[in-house]
């Protein structure tokens, strides 16, 4: 069997050596055909689903249109973008999103890092804990929002009535500030397990020798954390901060199921504002201008991350 294969290989090699220029041209045309066969189907789908709509979106943002196919689209130039500057509801929605993002990034990363330190310890129950802490992440934001909606409304109200602690246990979703905290709690609950996984990978990559050497030198647990582990964990910090940053900024599902932007639009985040402008108020052109701004902000966040991690790779 092997001998036969070898003979065949030798034959092909001799044939390859004999191939003249004409043969190379035939071969190159054939390679092009293979390239087209392998890549065209996916690239066609990709262009029609992502590229074409992306450029159509830029086009639409210069028009006023109510979304009805028969109604005219009126070209207004950059008027939509100028109008954005004076849109109070849009402005407060962006401010709210920034405020939410800052709080959420902090709480997600603090909790996630704490979880990661716990589940990489020598405790016997660490694997069970890891399983539990990651679980909420697999369930979609929409479902999680509904689970917590019951807790923040009926659950809190009933507990308040039974215990008399009305100052803490009331319907949190009826007040703008507590509703925002509610969204932070739910998204922290969902995302902490996710960044935990990334921190765990970072912690496991740190060589135990370095840490043990510090221990022998008499460095206590917190000293080892501060001076050895955290500096070595810097790449994981970058990844987790940006992952939670862009995920928080793009929040939609939890926002929709938990508060629907209420009470009285006080928790309407950026993505939901874009959605409502287009599909609820039927301002397709103006809403698309908001969507373009949304894209630009998300792109800046992502590109900063790419830039920072590339720079670190070069330094290393």
């Amino acid at each position: 069997m092997d001998a036969e294969k070898e003979a065949r290989c030798k034959g092909s090699l001799v044939f390859a050596q004999m191939t003249n220029d004409r043969g190379i041209i035939v071969k190159s045309a054939r390679n092009k055909a293979w390239f087209a066969l392998f890549t065209t189907p996916l690239y066609f789908v990709f262009i029609t689903v992502v590229i074409v709509p992306f450029f159509m979106g830029i086009y639409y943002s210069f028009f006023t249109w109510d979304g009805m196919p028969l109604n005219p689209k009126t070209f207004v130039g950059i008027d939509n973008f100028i109008r954005l500057l004076g849109d109070a509801r849009f402005g407060s929605s962006i401010l709210l999103t920034v405020k939410y993002t800052v709080i959420a990034v902090l709480s997600i990363n603090l909790l996630g890092l704490f979880f990661a330190l716990v589940v990489t310890s020598s405790l016997k129950t660490r694997n069970l804990a890891r399983t539990i802490f990651f679980m909420p992440n697999l369930i979609g934001g929409l479902i999680l929002g509904y689970v917590w909606k019951f807790i923040f409304t009926d659950g809190f109200k009933t507990v308040g009535e039974v215990t008399g602690l009305h100052g803490l246990f009331f319907n949190w979703l009826l007040n703008g500030d507590t509703a925002l905290i509610a969204i932070v709690i739910v998204s922290t609950w969902q995302m902490a397990g996710y960044v935990m996984i990334v921190y765990v990978a970072g912690l496991q990559a740190i060589s135990t020798e370095v840490v043990e050497a510090a221990e022998i030198d008499g460095a206590g647990y917190f000293r080892r954390l501060k001076d050895i582990i955290f500096p070595l964990l810097a790449p994981s910090f970058t990844i987790c901060l940006f992952l939670s940053l862009s995920n928080s900024f793009k929040i939609f599902d939890v926002n929709l199921s938990l508060t629907k932007g209420g009470p009285a639009n006080l928790t309407e985040m950026f993505a939901m504002n874009v959605y409502n402008e287009i599909f609820s108020y039927k301002n397709y052109g103006y809403g698309q201008a908001k969507a373009i701004v949304f894209f630009v902000v998300v792109a800046v966040i992502s590109l900063t991350q790419v830039y920072l991690s590339k720079r670190r790779e070069v330094e290393m």
Binding site: V49, I51, V159
Partner: protein
């Protein structure tokens, strides 16, 4: 003495960790116990166990939200989309790695660059364009499973090509394929017989990341599907909640129903899920 002290501290920390873990799952506990209580019982004690093991609300919820139909739709859409993403993206990524040309570079960077586009930035024009194809060319793009699967392939392509591309460039030696080509294998056979089986680690990662994404996705199917019998699980949950927010016991039963398949999947594939999620985040 010192050793004994250390041991008891260790036991205490283990117990603390278990308690913390159980507290973390408390929202699921609340949902579960309240899915079996009537209104009076819930008002009396929202945290306590139900008086009886009563599944009547589950039967009602299952019927009202057409759970089985939603489950089958979600399953069909996820399996078909992910199958196509895996097949088409691995083929494309392999060709892009092995072909040194301007076209192949441009194609690769366009896949990667568009990964930063958030869905909300293209959702409206996407629906316009799909509507155009639907109405003028008669293609089943809107309110049809085919169209939704088609769109998932488009949105999933970027990340899948990126992951496969990195893996092939880093871990699959071209010499193996050259040997096969010399043996007279066509590119098609070389890819499927030799290259694709070696891509298994990345294939698992792509499958896991796409399952989590597609199974839980709400916005795209809510825009692309309008018929009641095409609804996926997130969609039927959403409409169910619009209708039955007052009847919390039935709503809670519905939520538990949607959570059960995910927990079962997690129990069986936990190892792969955690590895896949870590890899997806680190790339």
């Amino acid at each position: 003495m010192e050793k004994k002290k250390k041991l008891s501290l260790n036991i205490l920390l283990n117990i603390l960790l278990i308690v913390a873990g159980l507290l973390y799952l408390f929202p699921f506990y609340i949902t579960l116990v309240n899915s079996m209580k009537d209104r009076a019982q819930m008002n009396a004690s929202v945290l306590g166990l139900p008086n009886s093991f009563d599944l009547q609300y589950y039967i009602k919820a299952m019927e009202k939200m057409n759970f089985l139909g939603g489950f089958l739709n979600s399953l069909l859409i996820a399996v078909a989309s992910i199958g196509c993403i895996v097949i088409l993206s691995s083929m494309t990524a392999w060709m892009l790695v092995r072909t040194k040309s301007k076209l192949s570079t441009v194609m690769f960077y366009s896949f990667v660059a568009t990964m930063i586009i958030p869905f909300q930035a293209v959702m409206m024009p996407l629906m316009q364009f799909m509507g155009l194809l639907n109405n003028n060319l008669g293609l089943p793009m809107l309110n049809h499973r085919f169209g939704l699967i088609y769109m998932y392939i488009g949105f999933g392509a970027g990340m899948a090509v990126f992951l496969y591309h990195g893996f092939i460039r880093g871990s699959i030696p071209a010499s193996l394929e050259e040997a096969a080509t010399i043996d007279g294998c066509s590119k098609w056979r070389t890819f499927w017989k030799i290259v694709f089986p070696m891509l298994k680690p990345t294939t698992v990662t792509v499958i896991i990341l796409d399952i989590i994404w597609i199974w839980n996705d709400f916005l795209l199917p809510s825009l692309a599907l309008s018929s009641k019998d095409l609804r996926t699980i997130p969609l039927s949950t959403f409409y169910f909640f619009g209708q039955f927010t007052i009847e919390w016991n039935m709503a809670m039963s519905g939520l538990i129903l949607t959570i059960i398949p995910v927990v079962i999947f997690y129990m069986f594939a936990q190892k792969y899920i955690i590895k896949g999620v870590a890899e997806g985040a680190l790339k």
